[in-house]
Symmetry: none
Subunit: 258 residues, 2 copies
């Protein structure tokens, strides 16, 4: 299970936190570190010093320009975050995350990611809305800003406990053997782009005045953990709507010309 | 309960670990830090820098010459340690420690201590034998040396969970307070009927040869536990598709008549 778990750090500004994260990961048996647009030197002496024996994880860390790329192949993406202000999103405790992971990681094509935001400003709303769920580490309300590596340490610890106890956990995200592999993050993003185009086309959505429409639809579909066949069905439905729109446009232009 | 819990560090050699410990403690609502024979500067700039806002815990830390003195008033002393080699000692997992703490801390005169050894050599046998029990954080057998502040972070987190007591998660399916009530069963059934009519209208669905289409769509939407506003959005989308279908039908019949 732990080999299907990626730690993703967005916009890290202190190399010590990259090293501390690598050490925390290696301590708990995690190896896959991805860095999105780091704002500090990644492979320098300061990150290696804090890694303190987990240097290989730093050296092997992959750097990406966007979260999209870092989690493109992922079937389960969880963002570490305090509560979202405007639009509630499914929220797990670290323990509940541990309980879900064995099932989420069971399918052969499964790949999970735990995403951590910037030291100073966390994750953007757009980044948070790319997650299936959020996880919040309970902290002292008067002093809630966990050090980044400390937050990774706590969640990696819960992941390790979950992996040690995974024998009696369900085999899929749904507690029952499933018929299709989960859709990947890339599939989902293509679907959301297609959905937005289609809703614009049928005059249901105005990209100039989006309100929370796409955020709410993302939340709805992310929650349901779409499988690959369901994804094909949804794309097929959008295709059928597009076809009708084109037919209508042809008719109208035909009338215009006629 | 957390106010009866002392963190004791023995022979710490890096001031950053004192600061990191203070920050981890304050994050989890602990305040009582005791240092036994520290081998570095305690109240200097390096420990304060890593404390990052938990400075008061560093300033208030008490320094003792021996473990004896640091835990003299304690009724429950637990040492953080890997397994003892010669003489087996009661061993708790971090989670089992959390489960025991509320009871241990219940008596009015109760005072508990979690003791952490030196960065390089841990606790001596004499120190370990002054503990009621030992606690071991499960780690990667190939890389088991946790950073001191990281070990404090993990155990302090378990203490906080124990103090929060029974699951205090909000009373919704999503682990967070939700913005809209769930859709009713009736709403759902009306939606599925509307969805099926619409899919038929756009020639995506053939009721004469339904295969598993509606069953799969039901499964998908039932899983996501649709709320009432999401339900309105989905019905609105179907309505926009219906409107387009009617426009197309009008055009075609107009052409047919023309």
């Amino acid at each position: 299970m732990l080999d299907k778990l990626r730690i993703v750090l967005i916009g890290t500004s202190h190399p010590g936190n990259i090293g501390g994260t690598a050490r925390a990961m290696h301590n708990m048996g995690l190896a896959d570190l991805a860095l999105v647009a780091p704002r500090c030197e990644v492979y320098g002496s300061e990150s290696h010093a804090r890694a303190s024996g987990a240097d290989a994880l730093v050296s092997n860390a992959k750097v990406y320009a966007t979260l999209e790329e870092a989690v493109g192949d992922c079937t389960f993406v969880v963002g570490a975050s305090a509560r979202v202000r405007h639009l509630p999103w499914p929220m797990l405790t670290p323990r509940a995350l541990g309980e879900r992971l064995p099932g989420e990681c069971a399918p052969e094509a499964a790949q999970a990611a735990l995403v951590f935001g910037r030291e100073d400003s966390g994750m953007t709303n757009g980044e948070l809305q790319r997650c299936h769920a959020h996880v919040h580490i309970p902290t002292n309300p008067d002093f809630s800003s966990l050090n980044l590596a400390a937050a990774v340490q706590v969640l990696a610890y819960e992941c390790r406990l979950a992996a040690l106890g995974a024998d009696d956990a369900p085999d899929t995200p749904f507690g029952v053997e499933w018929d299709n592999p989960p859709a990947s993050h890339e599939d989902l993003e293509r679907f959301f782009a297609h959905l937005e185009r289609t809703l614009t086309e049928i005059d249901f959505h105005d990209p100039e005045n989006p309100r929370q429409l796409m955020a709410r639809l993302r939340r709805l579909f992310m929650r349901s953990h779409i499988d690959s066949m369901e994804m094909n069905i949804l794309r097929g439905i959008l295709g059928a709507v597009n076809k009708q729109s084109r037919a209508l446009a042809r008719q109208e232009s035909h009338d215009g010309n006629g």
